[in-house]
């Protein structure tokens, strides 16, 4: 093999790199829409780590956890985008730094 064996560490490293990138997106970007997309990256990084550990340890249970994470993520996206649309109707913007007031 040219690249050497793939270990659990490879998957965990990839997952943590993905998490870092997603975290950078959440911190650096100002559009609420892009922040939500980066949140999806964070959830996916966690999913990848769970499935990898489950497979290398021979456990099926982490896959059930990932199944629930995907369901909750779908609900989260639906609700988050609904809130985003509601905010946009009032403030006409989705930039996070322009939503600094506590009351309208």
């Amino acid at each position: 093999m040219i690249f050497g064996e793939i270990t659990l560490g490879h998957y965990l490293a990839l997952s943590s790199l993905l998490f870092l990138i997603g975290l950078a997106g959440v911190i650096l970007r100002r559009s609420l829409l892009i922040i939500m997309m980066s949140l999806e990256l964070l959830l996916n990084a966690a999913n990848l780590a769970l499935v990898a550990v489950g497979r290398f340890q021979g456990l099926p249970d982490p896959q059930v956890a990932v199944f629930f994470v995907i369901t909750v993520a779908a609900a989260e996206v639906a609700l988050g985008l609904a809130i985003l649309v509601a905010i946009f109707r009032i403030k006409k913007t989705t930039a996070a730094d322009q939503l600094a007031t506590l009351r309208f």
């Binding site: 998957y11 790199l17 870092l20 950078a24 993520a73």
Partner: protein, 168 residues
């Protein structure tokens, strides 16, 4: 072949995720997210999680992405203005990337359990719909029911949030 597949998918995932964070156009971001989610599904297949790979494509790359695209079209989101000077970004990317690569190549191997290898096809299974369904409907059935309630509540919540106020 397995390491080759893993490296192709890993590089693709990191590149598409970075592109999501880097590009300014919301539609480009959405396309990057689709690519990242599909590559993640392929990674699930390399981990023998076949059912999850299918769910990932159907739920994430299908339903969630359609939601995102609908909202992008609905809101007519403009491109973000650039504020940070480019050299700050380059230094930041190089710094974080350097620390990440150093940490992942030097620190991860210190933990012996991460050195486990398992070839494709040697897993204990558990990735098929039948095996996952058995777990879902037996030991995890209360959680499964709770998920149903959660989705119902989310649906009702979205309808309430997006309703136009009849008085205004």
């Amino acid at each position: 072949m397995e390491p080759l597949f893993f490296w192709i998918l890993a590089v693709g995932l990191v590149v598409s995720a970075s592109a999501l964070v880097a590009f300014r156009n919301p539609v480009t971001n959405a396309v990057c997210l689709v690519v990242a989610l599909v590559i993640q599904a392929a990674l699930f297949i390399t981990l023998e999680a076949f059912f999850l790979a299918a769910v990932q494509v159907i739920v994430y790359a299908g339903a969630v992405m359609v939601l995102f695209l609908f909202v992008i079209m609905l809101l007519d989101v403009k491109e973000e203005a650039r504020r940070t000077p480019p050299w700050v970004k380059i230094v930041g990317v190089l710094g974080v990337g350097g620390v990440a690569v150093l940490g992942l190549t030097k620190i991860v191997p210190l933990f012996p359990f991460t050195q486990k290898t398992l070839h494709w096809g040697q897993g204990k299974g558990g990735g098929s719909a039948a095996e996952l369904g058995k777990l879902l409907f037996t030991s995890y059935s209360p959680l499964f029911l709770a998920t149903g309630v959660l989705l119902l509540v989310a649906t009702v919540g979205v309808v309430v949030l997006c309703r136009k106020d009849p008085e205004s």
